[in-house]
Symmetry: C2
Subunit: 771 residues, 2 copies
């Protein structure tokens, strides 16, 4: 059971030991630093725990029938404690006190337990664990045991390489090394992608703070190595073990040019440095990095319910730990760094739900994420070519740069037919290509990063538009259509002219035309380069034709924009049961996919995402009518849904409904009533979505047509919201209140054009606007 | 804790639930039928259990750095039971009654439990499980729950393909199929050897014996599929689930020519047949097969301690379940069919410790085991060639026919140097080649199977002798040596002229000469064939030279036969500590391999095995002196040691010491004081060894120089021993007493020449000899 009340807006607590919550707490309390993610299983083993150590970008494919995935690296978190011969096991004996805490401020996981063993002996145990945000390879533990009677304490701790992804083993058996009777090293290699991992561990011991030497022996076996340490403790003595671990791989930039032996030596040297620093010092250093990189840099303050404040920080915490901003060959997985769900793959979630946070707060991270797309172009070209199209068709799911499409082709078994279920998204959920172009353009417009645009951005947009020009199909109506797709609403497979898909495709083509014309005039040298690469002049004509003749659904007589060519004609059914469901996907208990495709029911925001991205394309009335039409038909069975609806609620004049949706979105991972909702990992896009609700929704921060707009729409529960936003190199501090907004240009280096509540202003150093 | 007192010589019991004994009971209570072996983990999951489903001959190599091994197939034994919301879990609540039993007579595993749940509710549970000895692919379960109060009973049961061998995953993700909302099917494929497995499961339910339909749903996920079944039971109602499973593979002979789809359909049809038969009928049928194939066919009766009788049946039980006599492309793994130890590989254990049981009891199985060696000749040729030799050099460890040597090159890490430890056996423990020749010859001599000899036996012996002729090294003494080997005593690496190795090599060469001469005279056609294949005439000369000039250690002035060229000159140390050790390998805690090689200490029987195989080569005085010299220096740190010593004890005039050794050998797997001694599986050779002690040692059954000898040497604890022996197609029933032996020719089809206590007799229908 999670508790949000004890941490003063800075910490989440678990206040009772409950195996039903293992998955939820493991995922939500994950540690990480963008380089690695470490799921927070208990040190001691229990049935039902899932241990995960994930290292960004280390994708491997187990067999030709499976798609590539982020492998589950060797575990260092399993530490068994035996106390006077009794195994420390909270399913036995009696728990007198139990709190597990994730401290967002410092990135520290801790657990304080008072336990009476089955024999009746009493122990206090204190666990601390960090993944350093300063030293990206470092994991450290501190465990103190205080027995209330004379006790023989035994720790069993080491490295366990028997981990799999649900049974798929991505590593060779590996070398086990033991140096100086002190340093454990495990060196396996991924079986297909040939990445060598070096995992190290070593231990220090203290009795009442004085370093001590336990009796120890080592057990080295297939794929795992454990040391056993035995210490005698008097009643009340504080016996402390510190464990230092690190992980390096040959995919690391700093490993470039090193032999495996050199990397092993390098890693061991780093381990010794960590050990010399000690746990306390590593923890302080990492906490300082959290302060500097996140909390001081992206301060967001809600004057309102403490829980809302906590959730926004919780989202920022995960946004930080899940993002491999250190390496532009990597991107963000759909379950962040907290589980094996979606195999660590990258979706449109990055551009639409995650990128805005980084654009407005950490533009260098945003640039790295978009550079990943540019570097992935070979895969996008291959996918287009494979499907008979031109240009760049971005994969629905992507992994390593040259993997191309990695969506599984089949998943699960149809309980009716007994056959495997085909996954259509990788084949026909094609709007991702526009999403990538839109992401690059957004980054450019918000940051003004012309260097990015020159090197990558123009080419990305042209290449995406090139794909679209080849993908359009002439219809009998003389117009160009996009048939047989899945739009954002994944309850509708094989639809024609999905509004989101078509409007964004047209947007991409129009941007390509705009930039082709611009470059040919203003940067002929770059234009010539891109012309040589892509054939822009010839494309320019196709684009013009496409833009002019593209079919787009138009609002009907009630002002509702049709989601696709047939949605509004489908059967309407009573969705009350599913709207009030405790779990997502309940409709599948009554209907199968074929039936759902024929009903007016949506999994998630579809037209609404279009209204969010291309805000000025439709009059307010169309948005209101469409919102009121689709929302009652939307089951929010995707974590990408509530946040979009919440953000739009102000645009359609219902901020309080938006606030309720925000509150529901907070529960996607944190709901105690759904203990298993995060078992496969937290919902990464939802973390971005929570920030979007708060800052882009209530805080009103948007980029519209390349221009900054800050028009807060505060819910009644919030007296004020303070946040900062980077805009073209300048940092603006915003204080939003119900009827007043104050902007301070903290960089102070130039005037910023900004729209506030419908009026245009120029911010120089400070601006206050009252509604 | 194992109990041997309750089963009347026919069953082993575990009388308390103790996780420390999980491994011991899982392995010792394994079920199997030669086609498959199923480790006996509890239905419900606990930490520390190991589930194994092994199918003979389905070897797979996980990665080029690992050797091939028998993969751990999908599990069907995990069945979770939830009772009024409480998980059936014997680590919680209170156990009022607990007995787990392996009934050797019927091959049934059962468990009877009365359990008070943590909430205080009372339940009786009765578990039965068989692997059919009649239907080689069938596994069946029956679970009855009798609640003492109204109870909602939930079973979760299915197929789990997430199993690994210590982390190595040998299977692709596989297809999951669900037919008629009733039949689960999982179809994975081994990753390197490309063997498709079909694993099926289905369930039936009964309330007070009447078939009933539970509420059910299905959960199909990555690599696993489970059904959930819910039933309401009244107090005292007997709710029964029967689960039927089977496993087929494309390596099965009956699958030849089938497509995967055909095999899937075939397997499903068999499953339906099993289900139609029902658990009780399958269990009776399998029990009848145990009676017919084992207990009636190989009756062994000890008039002595019931435990001795039980242990002999226990050995017969495992000998039956571990032996893939149905397929001559397969052989016996060193841990039988009860664990992942030694990766399912075949050692000299087969010929020296296991083959005699089959030769004297089930000659057709013995023939299959020796045909395996013949079919493995390509691997033996490849190994010889790789090492620069001629002929057939059999691998120290072997797996699939054409694998050749599969001994791991490295195992574990030296705790002193931190480096990997090189495993020398695969390189230089070369006596296996003679052992194979000896096995073939023994089979021939005992059975008189000329067809085998003509088709396989002569060629095997010639090919082995061809290897030896090329392996001999001329020394400065003008003689031929075999340098740098490991003999049977594996505490001595890199020794020269190991007595066992050299004498057996010479024996092989001499047999080749004998048969070359014989064939050239008596079967010129076969001789010509083999001449064309092997070049026997040229070899004949080499063999003659080798036989004449081979160096053989000779008994020293005290009548002790030197184990090798230096053993007797090594340092003698006080071994008292290790001779009295509770666990094997204790000497490694004080000395490393290099030091042990320099001391007069042996792991296991070495010269003694030579005395066992070539009994007439040395006078009794040499055997007595050597036994008395080596036994005190032998730590019996291998399961191959005590049985050989015990068998020889009569030869050296100390039957009571032999009986003590037999009692110790019984404890190798069954010792309650060593709960972990069978964790990786039972000791297969020890099972053969127990039979050897009883029947070849005390019962005096030997083949000597091709002749039958039955000279019992009964320990005082045994009044009589009755056993049967197949000899050249005739079945002889033996009743051995302290001073009297009675032989009955049950086949009655011809006279049998037999030596009893030093005198020659001819048995026609009945013979009684008194000492």
């Amino acid at each position: 059971m999670l508790d949000f009340s004890m941490g003063k807006g800075w910490a989440l607590d678990e206040t009772s030991f409950d195996p039903a919550f293992f998955g939820k707490v493991e995922a939500n309390f994950s540690l990480g630093n963008g380089y690695l993610g470490l799921r927070s299983a208990h040190e001691e083993n229990y049935l039902g725990q899932t241990r995960d150590l994930l290292v960004a970008g280390t994708f491997d494919r187990f067999s030709p029938e499976e798609v590539t995935e982020l492998p589950n690296a060797a575990d260092v978190t399993n530490i068994e404690i035996t106390l006077n011969g009794e195994r420390f096991d909270l399913t036995t004996g009696r728990i007198m006190y139990y709190v597990r805490r994730l401290d967002l401020k410092t990135g520290m996981l801790s657990r304080d337990v008072t336990w009476q063993s089955p024999k009746g002996e009493l122990y206090s145990l204190h666990f601390k664990r960090i993944v350093s945000l300063k030293r990206l390879h470092t994991i450290a533990f501190q465990i103190s045991v205080i027995p209330r009677q004379e006790t023989m304490i035994r720790f069993q701790s080491g490295i366990d390489g028997r981990m799999t992804c649900d049974g798929s083993q991505h590593f060779t058996e590996g070398q086990t090394r033991f140096y100086d009777k002190k340093y454990l090293q495990f060196v396996p290699r991924t079986i297909q992608s040939d990445i060598t991992f070096v995992v190290d561990a070593t231990h220090d011991f203290y009795a009442n703070g004085e370093e001590t030497q336990p009796v120890s022996d080592i057990n080295i076996s297939r794929r795992h190595m454990f040391s056993n340490f035995t210490l005698e403790a008097e009643a009340g003595e504080v016996v402390t073990m510190e464990k230092f671990c690190n992980v390096f791989t040959t995919r690391d930039r700093e490993a470039a040019g090193m032999t495996t032996a050199e990397l092993q030596a390098f890693a061991l040297d780093r381990l010794k440095e960590d050990q010399a620093a000690g746990f306390q010092s590593l923890a302080e250093e990492s906490a300082a990095a959290w302060r500097e990189k996140v909390w001081d840099r992206v301060p967001i303050t809600v004057d309102g319910p403490e829980f809302d404040q906590l959730v926004i920080r919780f989202a920022q915490y995960h946004l930080q730990l899940m993002t491999p901003a250190h390496d532009n060959r990597m991107n963000i997985g759909a379950k962040g760094f907290s589980g094996e769900g979606y195999k660590g793959h990258v979706f449109w979630d990055t551009e639409i739900f995650l990128l805005p946070y980084f654009i407005f707060n950490m533009p260098e991270a945003a640039r790295s994420l978009e550079e990943y797309r540019y570097l992935s172009l070979p895969g996008a070209h291959a996918k287009a070519k494979h499907n008979g199209y031109d240009g760049a068709q971005f994969p629905w799911e992507s992994a390593w740069l040259d993997d191309g499409e990695v969506t599984p082709e089949y998943m699960g078994t149809d309980v009716v037919t007994g056959q495997l279920i085909k996954v259509w998204t990788g084949f026909i959920e094609i709007h991702i290509t526009s999403d990538v172009a839109f992401g690059a353009w957004s980054y450019y417009k918000c940051t003004g990063d012309q260097d990015f645009m020159d090197k990558y951005g123009y080419e990305l947009i042209f290449d995406c538009a090139k794909f679209w020009a080849s993908r359009l199909e002439p219809g009998e109506d003389g117009l160009l259509h996009i048939n047989d797709v899945v739009g954002p609403d994944e309850y509708k497979e094989h639809v024609d002219d999905n509004a989101f898909t078509n409007y964004l495709a047209k947007w991409t083509i129009d941007k390509a035309i705009e930039y082709a014309d611009l470059l040919s005039e203003e940067n002929p040298e770059l234009f010539a380069q891109l012309e040589a690469k892509l054939g822009i002049m010839e494309l320019r004509e196709k684009w013009a034709y496409a833009s002019a003749f593209m079919f787009l659904t138009k609002p009907n007589e009630n002002g509702v924009l049709p989601q696709d060519s047939t949605y509004l004609t489908l059967q309407d059914i009573d969705l009350t049961k599913y709207k009030n469901q405790a779990h997502v996907g309940g409709i599948y208990k009554d209907y199968n996919q074929e039936q759902i495709t024929k009903m007016q029911v949506s999994k998630q925001a579809d037209v609404m995402v279009l209204f969010y991205l291309l805000e000025d394309l439709f009059p307010r009335e169309v948005k209101v009518s469409s919102f009121n039409y689709y929302e009652p038909r939307c089951l929010h069975d995707s974590s990408l849904s509530l946040c979009t609806h919440s953000m739009l609620s102000a645009d359609v004049g219902n901020v309080e409904q938006g606030y309720q949706m925000f509150q529901k979105a907070c529960m996607i991972d944190l709901d105690n009533a759904n203990p298993h909702s995060s078992d496969a990992g937290i919902h990464a896009a939802s973390m971005g979505g929570l920030w979007q609700c708060a800052v882009q929704g209530f805080g009103g921060l948007r980029m519209l047509g390349g221009k900054l707009r800050i028009s807060p729409n505060m819910p009644q529960a919030w007296n004020s919201l303070r946040y900062t936003a980077m805009w073209q190199g300048q940092r603006i501090a915003v204080t939003a209140e119900q009827n007043r907004v104050e902007l301070v240009n903290e960089t102070g280096s130039g005037p910023v054009e900004v729209e506030v509540w419908g009026a245009a202003y120029t911010l120089t150093d400070r601006l206050t606007v009252t509604k």
